[in-house]
């Protein structure tokens, strides 16, 4: 099955894994967090959701993860992702305060019934990736804000999932760590071929990482523009300094200004 | 082998249960084919419930009112013997508060809930005591000793001695039975079914108990006292002696009818007298078929009279 998929993918006809069709989400009967939001996610996509604070990015992500139900419209899951091979990085670190860093990262394995020893190497490796190999036995309350977020990222990546939903995972990190993790994320994606939906408020990040940027506007939260970033992967520092990159950023930035303008 | 039966008392082992322990100790029960186990009662132990549930065969009832109450609720229990002819229920006061019981009517009295539901009602109806004057007695006499202006209920053989020892004064004691509270006490009670189906067992138990009481009161009671002290290690010889003296002095066990009919005597006349008093006091209903609450079939036959010293 996976083999067939890969084949289709290379032909440019990647199977759909997720679809939001004219989804509305209203809170308390009056806060319209999302209105008529449609989004199709194909296998292997790297989609960024970009938009002003409070426009409904997190809400959309929760809907996609199945943690929340639309007020109207529908969400379709297809293929392997429907079986739950899925990871999420929430906007808050969401660590278990009673567990050490290593235990927190172990969680997804633990829930699959895998002992710590059997996955120790994976846990250590991913913690090295996020630069926390020395904090294996620390409790969350002993970590800085950025370190907590990195633990959360490590937990999401440790299982090499097929679908990753990330909600501003790098917002609490300094630029250098952020750049490094951007690259690591792309490397991982190249290696395991997963699908990623990525919420960010950084234009640069969205352009650098994704093959599709979805720009949203607030009140009511909706998609106002969606454009592909057709630069080939792997992308490196060369891409970051290219004119193409700058043009994309400008376009995304303009879209974002437009989104903001409509509110202000 | 002997038939196993159980007898639940109404309190921790004490001299007031002496006759029964005596009969166990000297084999009187065993002689007529019973292997009796005495189950001591206690502050909250409910042996009657155990008997009603078929877990015990005989229990000790406090007074006839309990039988009337049972009858009123159609509970098929029967009193088959009355170990005490008078209930040793007393009222204590500090010295010099009155001459007779009726003099205490203005006084605050510590009365237990049970007492309130029985003799106090009768005192209210016949002597003009007042509900408002009653305070709850939780079997702790300290408030009484502390306050000379209140009285309290007590058991003839325990509170007076205790107050004297701890409070350092000899309280005035009023035996309620002497003022017309004419109930029997420490009755042997069993299920109506037992009386009907196993009269032999009942007879043996009653006869044994009667003889036991004679032996306990008038002969060597050391074996019984040993059993009592085994069941209740806190019991002292002092207290046993005091209690026996009081029982004898006040004719609790052996007086009146028993002199001719033998210990345990129950007579229709006495029961009727008490019943009428209770009806008058409004404690029981007049239409109660009180006759079914007791049986004279096992007593009044002079059993054990031969054991009584002639004097």
């Amino acid at each position: 099955m996976a083999v067939i998929r890969r084949a289709i993918q290379s032909l440019g006809q990647r199977p759909k894994v997720l679809e939001m069709a004219r989804v509305d989400k209203t809170f308390n009967g009056n806060v319209v967090a999302l209105q008529h939001m449609s989004l199709t996610v194909n296998e292997g996509d790297f989609i960024s959701l970009l938009g002003p604070s409070g426009c409904g990015k997190s809400t959309a992500l929760r809907l996609l993860a199945g943690l929340s139900h639309p007020t109207a419209g529908r969400i379709l899951w297809e293929g392997a992702e429907a079986t739950g091979d899925l990871s999420v990085v929430f906007q808050e670190p969401t660590l278990m305060p009673w567990a050490t860093v290593a235990q927190n990262v172990w969680l997804p394995f633990r829930l699959r019934g895998q002992s710590y020893n059997s996955v120790k190497d994976e846990v250590l490796e991913v913690l090295r990736l996020v630069g926390l190999e020395k904090f294996l036995n620390a409790y969350p309350r002993e970590l800085s804000g950025g370190m907590k977020m990195r633990v959360s990222i490590a937990r999401a990546l440790v299982t090499n999932p097929r679908l990753i939903l990330m909600d501003e995972p790098f917002a609490a990190l300094d630029e250098i760590t952020r750049h490094k993790l951007n690259k690591d994320l792309l490397d991982l994606k190249a290696k395991i071929g997963c699908t990623i939906i990525f919420v960010t408020h950084s234009v640069f990040e969205s352009v650098f990482l994704s093959d599709r940027v979805v720009v949203m506007a607030a009140r009511p939260g909706r998609v106002i523009q969606e454009f592909p970033i057709d630069a080939p992967y792997p992308r490196g520092e060369a891409f970051r300094t290219s004119a193409e990159y700058a043009a994309h950023c400008r376009a995304a930035s303009d879209a974002l200004y437009q989104a903001m303008g409509e509110v202000a | 082998a002997n038939t196993k039966v159980t007898f639940g008392t109404n309190w921790l082992a004490q001299a007031e249960h002496g006759g029964f322990y005596q009969a166990v100790a000297d084999g009187t029960y065993a002689a007529c084919g019973l292997d009796v186990t005495i189950i001591p009662g206690g502050p909250q132990v409910n042996n009657r419930a155990q008997m009603l549930a078929g877990k015990e065969d005989f229990i000790m009832a406090g007074n006839m009112l309990e039988e009337f109450n049972a009858a009123a609720e159609d509970v098929p229990v029967v009193a088959v013997a009355a170990a005490f002819q008078k209930e040793p229920q007393v009222i204590l006061t500090h010295p010099g508060k009155g001459k007779t019981l009726a003099d205490l009517k203005g006084m605050k009295l510590l009365i237990s809930d049970q007492g309130y539901a029985s003799f106090y009602q009768w005192m209210v109806k016949t002597m003009g005591f007042k509900d408002e004057n009653r305070e709850v007695y939780t079997f702790n006499p300290a408030p009484f000793i502390a306050n000379p202006d209140i009285g309290m209920q007590g058991y003839l053989s325990s509170e007076p001695l205790m107050v004297e020892k701890q409070g350092g004064f000899k309280p005035d004691v009023y035996l309620i039975a002497d003022y017309g509270w004419s109930t029997y006490s420490t009755l042997i009670e069993t299920m109506a079914g037992t009386v009907k189906d196993k009269p032999d067992v009942v007879k043996c138990f009653v006869d044994g108990s009667i003889k036991g009481w004679y032996n306990y009161l008038y002969h060597d009671n050391s074996a019984a006292n040993a059993l009592i002290k085994k069941d209740n290690p806190d019991m002292t010889d002092d207290q046993i002696t005091f209690a026996i003296d009081k029982m004898k002095a006040n004719g609790i066990v052996d007086s009146g009818d028993t002199l001719t009919m033998g210990i345990g005597a129950i007579t229709d006349a006495r029961v009727k007298d008490f019943f009428d008093k209770m009806v008058a006091a409004g404690v029981v209903k007049a239409d109660l078929d009180y006759k079914k609450t007791y049986s004279t079939a096992f007593v009044d036959q002079g059993v054990g009279l031969d054991l009584r010293p002639k004097n």
């Binding site: 679809e19 969400i75 379709l76 | 809930d113 049970q114 709850v136 300290a142």
Partner: protein, 287 residues
């Protein structure tokens, strides 16, 4: 599953089913929320009845539910006034327990020295058998009501104290720092930070104390006696037990049980009102 083109209709049907299922679930829940407890209670009563009938248990051991209810109706004239008396003491005892328990908790969290020194006394009070100290209380407390409340308080105050102390200590440390920075006085910190933080814990303690107050009232009545006129349910239970009027005893117990459930329900409702806007345990998440 198949690829998207053919998958979509199938999925659509599935989603419709899913939606229907959710809507149905919601309807079911709305009804079930009231119906189910009632049904279960009815089933329990029926079971009780059957047990009594099948085992031919005489009424003086365990009366059947219908007899009990019948007695309840018959003796309503005796039992309901008694209930009122008990209820009055219960509510007063609960107030005293809440004021005493929460007050002590606040005192204790103000100063660690005070807490270290006096918490042991609170524990001692909790474990002191009321029955034993009641006579002492009534020697020194001449006002009967005060004595009664003191007894009931002894029974009920500790859960409030313990839970409130825990809650007052569980205030978020970042918020505590925030209050320090703004130079909050001790009283402001208590009023605006610690008390709201402690609320869920306090309300948990309150729900425990609700039942304990009722028990406390029964015990207090038992040791202090409201005897005779104006006596409460405790006296009725004792009296009925003494008279072997077991159906009436059970009727009184039933009243106590219902009172307990009612108190619990009221306290839960208050708890819901105070917490549903913000606390995890009470918030109904929209999904």
């Amino acid at each position: 599953m198949t690829i998207a083109e053919t998958g979509a209709p199938a999925a659509e049907v599935a989603v419709d089913l899913e939606e229907q299922r959710r809507a149905r679930n919601q309807r079911v829940e709305k009804i079930g929320r009231w119906l189910l407890p009632v049904l279960v209670m009815a089933a329990a009563i029926l079971l009780w009845d059957r047990i009594v009938v099948w085992n031919a248990i005489p009424k003086y051991i365990l009366p059947g539910p219908f007899l009990v209810i019948q007695t309840l109706i018959q003796d309503a004239g005796i039992l309901f006034p008694a209930l009122l008396v008990t209820l009055e003491i219960t509510l007063m005892a609960l107030s005293v327990a809440v004021i005493g328990g929460a007050g002590l908790a606040i005192l204790f969290t103000q100063n660690r020295w005070v807490e270290m020194s006096f918490y042991p006394f609170a524990v001692i009070l909790q474990v002191t058998p009321v029955v034993s100290v009641a006579p002492l209380i009534f020697i020194y407390v001449s006002n009967r009501l005060v004595g009664l409340l003191l007894c009931a308080w002894l029974v009920a105050f500790f859960p409030v104290l313990s839970n409130t102390t825990l809650g007052l200590r569980s205030a978020d440390h970042n918020l505590r720092d925030m209050f320090s920075i703004y130079g909050a006085t001790r009283w402001q910190r208590l009023r605006y930070l610690q008390i709201p933080s402690a609320l869920p814990y306090f309300l948990g303690g309150l729900r425990i104390a609700g039942g304990l107050s009722l028990i406390g009232a029964v015990v207090a009545e038992y040791v202090a006696g409201t005897g005779g006129i104006g006596s409460g349910l405790a006296f009725r239970i004792l009296e009925a037990g003494y008279r072997l009027n077991i159906p009436r005893m059970f009727a009184a117990l039933l009243l106590i049980a219902f009172t307990g459930v009612a108190i619990f329900a009221v306290l839960s409702f208050i708890s819901h009102l105070l917490l549903h806007k913000w606390h995890e345990s009470a918030v109904k998440r929209e999904t």
